[in-house]
Subunit: 509 residues, 2 copies
């Protein structure tokens, strides 16, 4: 099988019209026993828990699915006007968006090669749209640089750079300095190709290109042809601190075509939950995770009634985030408990506003402008183009930048985000209304967006320990996959693995 | 004002929420007299004619808008199941698509900087979606090359090439051969940047990149990380005949974000027509274009009743395609008549099928695969992702390639298109059903897609002659703009220019 494309037979098969994974997975997993008569307690109704529940039920098992929140989806959280946003240690916010608007506070885009996710979207008939992740009209903003090199359109950065590099490489070829590297035939073909690649003049110089933008658009008569913007120098390009972000869209996880559910990221969790035989128990805050005989005994507090409830089962699949899990009294082995307690989650903050779409007057429809600093970027909405009110993500700050941003109070963070928009789009900072700030470290029951295994103190061996399981306890979630909590695809892979282990005839170690 | 962005004050203003052009256009056009009491006969209800009608009515004039077809929109033609497609000299076709599917037989995408078009879409509240014009999962197919260099994913072509070129340029820098071109500071900054740009190894070599694709996707546990595909050699890349098509998406007219009306390209024409005070007269085939006094007298045959009708007015704005116009008896000046008769239109053929979306199993959602030869490309649908039946454009052949394709009979053309899909997606040629062939030279009342001014015998002075007008006769249409008939933006610019001239107080020459 080819590289993405069809890199992984399992993922290929699963993307064929939502055929159940159980019917298709090769080898060991196909030998997994059906779960008839098994009762599995699943902690957490995010994507991992929901998929685990769905898989257990498909195999004939019984599920008790618990989530502390009043909704399913976990980090796949879509905000709408009127929603309440709690932040630990701070005042609640109420989302002020107009009716019909929605905003994905957690994950917001799906790569085309995330076959697990897309197979589920197909299976549950969740409509998908393009999530325009990169538009050539977007900006790279370096406020320290003057004029057009500081507020640099992506098209100009990418194409003036390509022109300059092609010009230089052509010169190097002609100078003979690459004669050792490339034979004459290759040099000839490459030289010819570079003219196209860099849109070079006949003499090999780069004198600008319409790819970089137009100083004059084509007009009403044939004489009024387009005129390219003048080319920027290599020095001017290299001086822009955000220049490397032209490669953002080439990251394998960020390439077009990216997708998202048309109605919001929560639409897939909602659809999976609706199809379960045993509906999830919401507002169920787990208080104890115990062994009982060869099985499990889970105590949870019903946050609505205030009463403790007990459920028992043969196995538990635990998808709760590790900071939360570390505080729940349990019967885990010392090694597993240590692994859970050892991991520190990263930081990430999103700040969104409602706004009239002033960016469309600058030919921006979706995509991301990069601004650096502690707010990092501005992400324009995809979908509902030309609607009079839309949601703008004015800051999406992660890791060290998020830690710095969090040192400001909420009003200060909002001001910084508004100012970033003002620098990108002078005069329009004042158009932004109804701010909402989501600091993922302050989200109850999450207390973090994902794990960066390279952060000091974190050791991926912790995930290995959890993935080995602990008697009747199995662990799952994107944080335990090779996606480290960043992508829902990892949650689905991990959940399916956990269910296969939970229902296999050989007892887990 | 910046380059696209806001390159043209007029287009900037017009894109601000659909404010009427008459209220905003600077200078001479603002001085245009309102059209109170004027009666303008407009020939052709494509985009140009519709916009002209709308503009005349806004100025208080009266319009008679004629179109020979039984629909508005001209080349902005959207096919749906049950529609009849006539082709001059051939059997009719009936479109066999399932309900709910549509296909744009003419223009199918709008650049984000086409402010005239997008302003109208906003004014008439026509919903727009992203038209995914380029996806990294798409292919560059060169059947003469073996294996993965012949059926080459765009992501691999673009990124392996970038890696190889960055590696070579880095070597050239280090060899001193560019010391005359670049000072030491620039060389240092560039060398560092090239490592990011090309995703090079620490020693400056290109050893492959995840940007080019994954041989193994990330798995269910932290140990199962992604593995990049091995890098292709520069020679293998240069050998692929379609390699230059990686630059397709950098053409200023093809860059993301591209858009299209969600319901089909005909939705804007339909909306404009619906808002006219005087509804268009359809099935009105113009038979004579005459002067009468200082005004005009148009004879048309009502194709439904078979009767000739006559309309008179102060001016005519003529948007009919030139091959059609050349055959209508008229009172044009000899110079104008010669200009009209002198132009030969280009050729273009689209071949579409209905199909289950087998391409989604290869992670393709929209975008274009390039296959060369006489069918040129396969264009995957944007929108209705994961729907069980979608419309695939299996050939879009233009100019010399279309002339060659047209030499086959219809069945032969369909077979070639099916075969191109089979080469791209082995085993799936048989999935294609309900073929429809649109050869634009055979479309009644069009007889061609656009004008290539560089074609032998064509002279853009013909457009200049028409743009000068001819007494009470004014000419408009995309073919007379700097867009040469390729883009609806040109039609709108041309129409607005013609209306300004038609309603100005100074009589046209």
């Amino acid at each position: 099988m080819e590289s993405i494309g069809i890199v992984n037979r399992r993922s290929f098969l699963q993307s064929l019209g939502g055929v159940s994974a159980a019917g298709l997975l090769p080898g060991r997993l196909l030998a997994a026993a059906p779960a008839q008569g098994q009762r599995v307690i699943i902690i957490g109704a995010g994507i991992a828990g929901l998929v685990a529940a769905h898989e257990v039920e498909k195999r004939g098992g019984e599920v008790v699915l618990l989530d502390a929140r009043d909704r399913v989806g976990g980090r796949a959280w879509t905000l709408r006007g009127g929603d309440r946003v709690r932040q630990i240690g701070e005042e609640d916010q109420q989302v002020g968006f107009s009716p019909g608007l929605h905003f994905d506070a957690g994950p917001a885009r799906i790569p085309s090669h995330h076959d697990q996710y897309l197979g589920l979207a197909r299976e549950f008939a969740v409509p998908l749209d393009v999530l325009e992740n990169s538009s050539r009209s977007n900006y790279l903003l370096d406020a320290a640089q003057p004029g057009e090199s500081g507020r640099l359109r992506l098209r100009r950065a990418a194409n003036d750079l390509r022109g300059r590099l092609s010009e230089l490489l052509g010169k190097a070829l002609r100078s003979g300095s690459l004669d050792q590297e490339l034979d004459g035939g290759t040099r000839g073909r490459l030289g010819a190709f570079l003219k196209l690649y860099g849109d070079l003049a006949d003499d090999g110089r780069y004198v600008g290109s319409q790819r970089s933008g137009l100083a004059r658009v084509p007009g009403a008569t044939t004489g009024e042809g387009p005129v390219a913007v003048p080319p920027l120098t290599l020095d001017a390009l290299l001086a822009n601190n955000e220049l490397a972000m032209i490669l953002f869209e080439e990251n394998i996880l960020m390439q077009p075509t990216m997708l998202h559910p048309s109605g919001g990221m929560d639409q897939l969790p909602v659809a999976i939950a609706a199809a379960l035989r045993s509906p999830p128990r919401l507002n169920a805050e787990v208080r104890e995770i115990r062994r009982k005989g060869r099985g499990v005994r889970i105590v949870y507090r019903d946050r609505v009634t205030g009463r403790d409830e007990v459920v028992e089962g043969d196995r538990a699949i635990i998808t709760a985030p590790l900071p939360i899990l570390a505080r729940i009294p349990n019967d885990f082995s010392p090694a597993v408990a240590r692994a859970i307690a050892s991991v520190r989650y990263a930081a990430s903050i999103k700040i969104a506003f409602e706004s009239p779409p002033f960016w469309e007057a600058e030919q921006i429809y979706g995509g991301i402008s990069f601004v650096g600093g502690d707010t990092a970027l501005v992400w324009y909405p995809s979908g509902a183009f030309q609607a009079k009110r839309q949601v703008l993500l004015a800051a999406y700050s992660s890791n060290e930048a998020a830690v710095r941003l969090a040192q400001h109070d909420r009003a200060g963070q909002i001001a910084l985000a508004r100012n970033a928009v003002e620098q990108l789009h002078p005069g329009h900072g004042r158009d932004l209304t109804a701010p909402v700030v989501i600091d993922w470290r302050k989200v109850p029951y999450s207390e973090g967006p994902w794990i960066e295994w390279t952060d000091p103190g974190n050791d991926p061996q912790a995930a290995t320990a959890l993935n080995a399981g602990d008697g009747p306890f199995l662990f799952a979630g994107s944080h335990l996959s090779a996606y480290s909590g960043h992508w829902q695809e990892g949650a689905i892979l991990s959940a399916r693995r956990a269910v296969a282990r939970a229902t296999s005839t050989t007892p887990s170690a």
